[in-house]
């Protein structure tokens, strides 16, 4: 194996983790990563002089991940019972007031300087229900516009708003419990 191939290969576990977090399916993630590595090894000259290896590979991976989402559109948009749970109902009373008022989280600088916070954040993202997790990551990692997400997954914008809304409220709840209340994420 050439030095370049070995270097590329050494990043496979990390790429696989990224692909899994977006696709929520091991087989699709394997495919996306294999296609990424293959594309990289087939045209090493494309990398020459460019940024850093990981940055370059992640750029390719994002395209391959979108290909997979397209290939599995229907399955990607299936809603689990967890996806269907009305989070609003748990947070708000019938009259629209908070059951429990949000707590003070302090300054972002203080929190974002801590590496462990990001470990909890990733854990909380993994814990999102499947389809919520997919749309959330499409927005936050792939940085797709809302209309693009609707198109790729063949869902209505109303469905997308609901999914993103629930994902963010769940993430907030998980961070509250797993970080700001000082309890480990169980």
């Amino acid at each position: 194996m050439s030095a370049f191939a070995a270097q590329v290969e050494s990043l496979r576990p990390q790429l696989l983790r990224y692909a899994r977090s977006q696709l929520r399916n091991d087989a699709w993630a394997e495919d996306a990563v294999s296609e990424t590595l293959l594309a990289a090894l087939e045209r090493p000259q494309a990398f020459a002089g460019q940024s850093q290896l990981k940055t370059w590979l992640v750029g390719i991976l994002k395209h391959k991940v979108i290909d997979q989402l397209r290939r599995h559109t229907r399955e990607c948009a299936l809603l689990s019972d967890d996806d269907e749970t009305d989070v609003d109902e748990l947070l708000f009373k019938a009259d629209g007031h908070w059951h429990e008022a949000p707590q003070e989280w302090g300054s972002p600088e203080q929190t974002l300087g801590q590496r462990q916070f990001f470990e909890v954040l990733e854990l909380c993202m993994e814990r999102l229900p499947q389809t919520q997790g997919r749309v959330f990551m499409m927005r936050e990692w792939l940085e797709l516009g809302t209309d693009e997400i609707c198109k790729e997954l063949s869902i209505t914008s109303t469905n997308l708003w609901v999914l993103l809304h629930r994902a963010r409220l769940r993430l907030r709840d998980c961070l509250q419990q797993g970080w700001f209340s000082g309890r480990p994420v169980a």
Binding site: V58, L112, L169
Partner: protein, 68 residues
């Protein structure tokens, strides 16, 4: 002007990241935030999450972080 409750205000604070709110929505939201300290706390939490995601994204997309 429509009076939002906390549930509606929260929805708009989260949607603000994905679409531009209308001026009517913005005005009603500002009005609600002016009288509701619970939703102001939520607004701070949402802002912390926005910054956290931006940091997370830049780490994931570049060579900086190699966390397993």
């Amino acid at each position: 002007m429509e009076q939002y409750n906390c549930r509606q205000a929260t929805r708009l604070m989260l949607q603000e990241r994905d679409r531009e709110l209308t001026s009517t929505e913005r005005a009603a939201l500002q009005f609600h935030l002016g009288i509701c300290s619970a939703c102001r706390k939520f607004q701070n939490q949402a802002e912390l999450m926005r910054q956290a995601m931006a940091r997370w994204r830049s780490d994931r997309n570049s060579d900086k972080s190699d966390s397993p």
